[in-house]
Every structure is written in structure tokens, then in C-alpha cells.
Amino acid sequence: MASPCEVIIQSADKQLAAELGNIIATEVWRIEDKYSRYNQHSTCGVINNNAGYSVAIDEETYLLLNFAEQCYQLSDGFFDISSGILRKIWSFNGAQANEANKGNHDNFPTVEQVKQNLTHVGWRKITFDQKQITLAKGMEIDFGGIGKEYAVDRAIILAKQLTNSPVLVNLGGDLAVTSSRLHNEPWQVAIEHPDTNSNQNILADMIVSLQSGALATSGDARRFVIHDGKRYSHILNAKTGWPIVDAPRSITVVAPQCIQAGILATLALLQGSYAEQFLAEQDIKFWARR
């Protein structure tokens, strides 16, 4: 996951808290092990390594692929989990790059490189059903855009099965709650200001009172690249292979489930300068920072 993860339970029962922590950690690691593109033995890794061939999948993977399909359609093709291959030419660890190179970054690709890699991107080139998935040769899929939020929602389901105490699950800023806190008090969530770097103190610029539901933040606070003085977000336009321009620096969306919030935030960012309009027209609660 590579981001701080925490589970908060409002209870005086230490044993319960330990048990809850274990259950959720186990589930989150299970999902990470299964869908991480960095793990060769994960389901994702096996699928990617056998591009061109049919690979057997289980029901959970089928449901996730179905969900990804819905997102592809809803976004008119801008959200495409087969765009993961573009990571070979894009590297978004802007926080370090900024200090090292102050401008040009080695991993900023050329137009040719992008064109070439784009031939291996395209959800339409994938076929799958309940039992198997087949990628076209040279393709890869990446569950990064939905994996973390899915893990949060799964964790909430498990938490609700275990206890009635209020629980908040936060995986690196994508979070959800099982219910409001005791006495109907909301959870207080601080949203990090996009301008965080090691030279400045971390400022929590905004506090949101979450009564129920989930919150996901999509943005470039940590993952971006700077080229010629311009800041490029890590959200790539799957059709052109280039990062979306004029997107807000950060979008936080509230929705009943975390995966919904996460997709809406990503879909909004994909709209670039129309991000806020897109969400406002949907009557979705959100906060954006430019």
C-alpha cells in the first residue's frame, strides 16, 4: 500500500480492538497480495505475465473486472485499468524528484514513447467472463485505481460483522466509517493540503465532520512529476497516454462507499478543468483544491 493505514474503533475493549485490527490487516494484505501489480505471483501479476493467453479467475476478480468495465463505460473510456502499462514510461514520485532535479525529470517520456506504449492500452482489447480473462499480447491491467478503496469497503463489511462499535478504516486517506461515533457525534477527518513537502509543516487545512459513509481523496499531493516547471498529476488520460491537464490539485469526495467515492474523485479529475462542474452537476458532495 505504501501509505499509512489505520483502523480506529471507539471502544474500551482492548481485545476487541486487537481482534479487529488483525482481521482487517489480514484482509487488506490479502487484497494487496492478490491485486498488486508489483507482485509477480499475485492474480494481477499472473494475468499480466500471461498476456495473450486465457487465465482462470475467481468470483472476486470477476466482480472487480465487472466494476472496472462499468467505470470504463461511465467515463467514456477515460478510466481504463489497462493503462497501467504506461507506468513504464511515467514515474510519479515527484516529491523526491523535485529536490533532486529541480525541473527536468528523467522519466518524462517523449511523444514517440507514449505513442508506442499506447498501442498496448485499451479495455476493448480484453475479453473476460466469469471464469477467465484474456489480455491482448503486451497488455497489462492495474487495479491501483480501485484496489485501495475496495479494501476499505471490504474492511468495513468485516468490521460490521464483528462489532457494533463505531469503526473508521483509513487506508492512506481513503476512508470509511461503519456508523457515526457514540452519542451520534461525527468523526472529524482532516484533509491534507496539497502543498505538503518536507520543508513545511504538515497543515491540515480542512476538517470534515463525517457522520456516515466514506471519503476518498484523489490528487497529486504525493505523486506527481515536474517538467519544465509544470506540475503533472499522476492521473493519465488513457486515450492519449498523457497526464490530465488543468485538473484540480486535489479532490475529496463523499459517498456511501469508499470505492464509489474513489471512482467519482478519479472520474472528476479526468475531466480536467471541468472537474468541479462534473461533480456539482451530479449533486455529489466534494471539496476541490486548485
Binding site: 499509512p4 472529524q188 482532516a190 491540515a204 476538517i207
Partner: protein
């Protein structure tokens, strides 16, 4: 003399507080501190009204903030 003693006692408290680097919280531990009621000046309107009353009726003023002039009440 009495005043000097009080001042001398006051300064070690500050040095003691700054000397303990174990004091303080990480940014993500500020949940309670972020609440309005944990602000050192939680009700500035109440404080302003009270300060005015006590400035008019007693010989001391300020301490928490400026105690200076402002009205012809004392």
C-alpha cells in the same frame, strides 16, 4: 525582591517545557486539539466582555492579551 523570585520561578517552567522534546503531538494526533473548545481563546467575545468588566472594577488588567487603555472606565 518578592517580584524577582516570582520571575525566577517562571523562567524555569519555560525552559523545562522547551527542554522536553517528548512534549507535543504528531499532526495526525491533533483530533482533540483541533476542536474549538480546545483553543486557548475559545470564546473571544466572552473574554472581551469579561475583560472590560474586570478592567473597570479591579486594579489589574490583561495578562492573557493586551490590557491597555481603551476606555475611560478606570
Amino acid at each position: 525582591m518578592k517580584k524577582n523570585i516570582k520571575l525566577v520561578l517562571f523562567i524555569p517552567i519555560i525552559i523545562g517545557a522547551t527542554g522536553c522534546s517528548s512534549l507535543g503531538v504528531e499532526p495526525w494526533e491533533r483530533d482533540l486539539l483541533a476542536k474549538d473548545e480546545m483553543s486557548l481563546n475559545a470564546s473571544p467575545v466572552d473574554a472581551a466582555l469579561d475583560d472590560h468588566i474586570y478592567f473597570s472594577k479591579e486594579a489589574s488588567s490583561g495578562g492573557k492579551g493586551f490590557g491597555g487603555g481603551g476606555c475611560g472606565c478606570n
